[in-house]
């Protein structure tokens, strides 16, 4: 099943079985069915619950707070994650603060779906991965499935069982991907999962035996990582393990502590800029807990620049597969082959 279809199915189920679920955002209605077709067919099927809005990200985000306080379970689609910036005040100073500053007297079970990620040539304002920016907002939960997770299931759980304010991140490149579940897992990779509600996926190209390097990443980076794992295996027989959590904040340290402890070489991969990026936080926390003393720990991410439109330039600013590969080769001194 494709990533986008998994989401569409889950939304269909949510709307069908829960009249308090409403889905709104820009250009959602049929026949267009959303900029990335995630909501295709839903406005026709659930006309009272699914509707398109004016281009007003701030108002839309702010309204989700009011809707949820009023007893609804709103799902807001932000067409490009970059546009969350238009509503940062409503997110930062209103939606995420209400519950706590009002002493838990009200709840705001809001789910905002936002696309992130580049490598499509959409340019500086349509390609960003703003997770680190959003992660610095207290009380905001950030969920970011990869194609090794079941995004539909995660979405359902998040809407029905999790009453936090949540941003559900969907990487654009993942939409047309076949989900890597059961028989669709590539032949060189084995997969295990943690038992958390937002499970962490563990990948290995060596049957989880004595990996030489541990990669930690999330979301759409799984595409490059999958190819990398296969290439590293075929070209160097490099034993690689990968951790892909499905939730970024709060970060599931329990799911990674043991693997980190047992690794001597760890590389964090993100598409957001490295500077003040996602990996910095994780590494700081791991360092404080003494889990990475004396180990090779590295980060790879975007340069501190806007993301260019042209493919060649985009591939220089965003971390390319070849860049990550040469970094791994350098860290592990792989030229011995």
């Amino acid at each position: 099943m494709k990533f986008v279809n998994s989401l569409n199915k889950a939304l269909d189920k949510l709307l069908r079985e829960n009249s308090e679920v409403v889905l709104y955002g820009e250009d959602l209605s049929d026949p267009y069915g959303g900029a990335f077709k995630v909501t295709k067919g839903l406005s026709t099927e659930f006309p009272g619950q699914v509707f398109s809005t004016p281009i007003s990200e701030a108002a839309l985000i702010g309204m989700s707070a009011g809707m949820s306080i009023g007893g609804l379970k709103p799902i807001l689609e932000i067409m490009f994650g970059d546009f969350v910036a238009l509503g940062i005040d409503q997110l930062l100073n209103h939606l995420t603060k209400f519950r706590w500053m009002y002493n838990d007297l009200i709840k705001t079970p809001v789910l905002i779906r936002a696309t992130m990620g580049g490598r499509r040539g959409y340019g500086p304002t349509h390609s960003q991965s703003l997770e680190p920016l959003l992660a610095s907002i207290p009380q905001l939960k950030i969920i970011a499935p990869s194609d090794y997770h079941n995004p539909g299931e995660l979405l359902e759980y998040a809407v029905l069982e999790d009453d936090a304010v949540k941003i559900f991140i969907e990487y654009k490149l993942l939409y047309p991907r076949e989900l890597r579940l059961k028989d669709k897992i590539p032949d060189s990779i084995e997969v295990l999962y943690s038992s958390s509600n937002y499970p962490t996926a563990y990948l290995s190209n060596c049957f989880f035996e004595s990996p030489e390097i541990l990669l930690i990443s999330f979301g759409g980076n799984s595409i490059i990582i999958e190819e990398l794992m296969d290439e590293l295996l075929m070209e160097y027989e490099l034993n690689t393990e990968v951790i892909l959590p499905s939730v970024i904040k709060p970060f599931p340290y329990n799911d990674i502590a043991e693997k980190v402890n047992n690794s001597s070489c760890i590389l964090f991969i993100e598409e957001s800029p490295v500077t003040y990026g996602w990996a910095s936080e994780i590494i700081a926390c791991l360092a404080e807990n003494g889990l990475i003393a004396g180990k090779e720990v590295h980060r790879v991410g975007a340069m501190d620049l806007p993301i260019p439109s042209s493919m060649g330039l985009e591939n220089k600013v965003l971390p390319s597969k070849s860049l990550i590969k040469s970094k791994i080769k350098k860290i592990l001194n792989l030229e011995r082959l």
Binding site: F36, K37, G121, Y175, P176, D187, L233, M234, E235, L337
Partner: protein, 492 residues
Amino acid sequence: MEKFFWIPFEDVNDEEATITQLLYESGDYVEKNSIIYSYETTKTAVDVESGEIEGYIFYFIDEGQAAKIGANICVITSDKDYKIQTQEIQSLDSGKNQDYRLTAKAKLLIEEKKIDVKKLNLKGIIREKDINNFIKSKSTITKSDKEKIKYLDRGDTFIEFLLNDDNFRQLSSEEKIRKYRDNGHTIGENVTIMDGAVIIGNTITIEDNVQIGTNTYIEVPEIVIRKNVSIGSNCDIVASQINIGEFSRILNNVLVDIAGGRYFDSNFVCGRDCLIASDVFINACREVRLGDHVSLSHRSIVFTHSFWQSVLEGYSANFGPVKFEDNSQLGSGAQVLPNITVGEGSVIMSNSLVTSPVAKHVLVGGVPAKIIRKDIKKSLSIGQKLRIIQRVFDEFADYLHTDGYSIDKLGDLEIETTKDSVRRNILIVDSLKKLSIKKDIVIVFKKEKNINEKATEVFIVDDKSYLGNLSELGRMLLGFFRRRGILFYPGE
């Protein structure tokens, strides 16, 4: 007149699109400006119209499948019987159909060791260690064989003596044999070590009726030579261990060496009744093992190593044993390279070069050798065998005649011969029960009870054995039949 339709590049950012609907079936007639198919990408859904063309539509792809941008989806043609060429049918869903993939390290190892991957039955991801495991499993060396390299015991005074003393070789055979026995080696009866010949070893065992020809030099730490073996003259045999089976013959000028380096399995071993013809060269830095009744013809060559140029420059170095299974034959001038097994009953044509293992019962030839014919060993019926033996028998009778015997044919299967006034009869029967009186020499197929009552000398075909003391005539028959591969060994 025909028009092809494909998904244009400029509309989409994707590399593939899903064909969501085919509005017709292949072969249907389509009017102008009809919608013929719909496709969907991550950005858009499009209905495609036929435009200003009408005709018969043929689709190259199924509904629901993913199609590459730019590849043909369908054609509208005036040809009612348009045949879809197979290369037009395209779908991204056909993935790699390779059964296995090799890592770079595995490929390197396969290159180096010249392994034939087709023989390996590979599936999935193959790593270097998997190839290593295969190599180990194919090795003929068993764990118990993993002993240390055997060297001549240079601390042994007799061995030093044998190595340095020029005169020993010129002693008579009896004197040499006595000296060997005095120094603890086992030498049987009726053994001859001709002039100039010397055997140097830590442990020497020679059984009865063995002949070692003139000027033959054997320097091997462990030597076992079974009975009735003859080794010709001017042979030069150096190895770690040799084991020659009974009735085997090594002719003149045979060389056995350990170029490539002495190793724990630098052995030369052969079973019974083998023939190592003249001028054969055997390199035994790894084990060369012959089964029973194997022939290495004149000037044939066996190598257990191959190296010269540097492995750092992409050249290969190989070391490995060679095995000849029972009843196989290496043609004259032919050569076998390391890590080869020649299968049972197979024949390698003269002047061939064997570079890969040879199966059973095949005839191979050429450089590099390829199979010329398969299944060269056939199972014949009794009737066929009888006819063949009968023909051989006829030829034998003619041969006796040329050797001064007078022949009386008493039938297809029986003759009476006379030489120097001694009359003997020879016959072939299917069962001894048919005999009323005792015959001199009888050839039967199967062993039966109370054979010695029916014949003085009996040759049992299926058993490959003979019973009774052979007369001169019997020995002539033995040799004549042997030269046609019909073998008889002394039976109980």
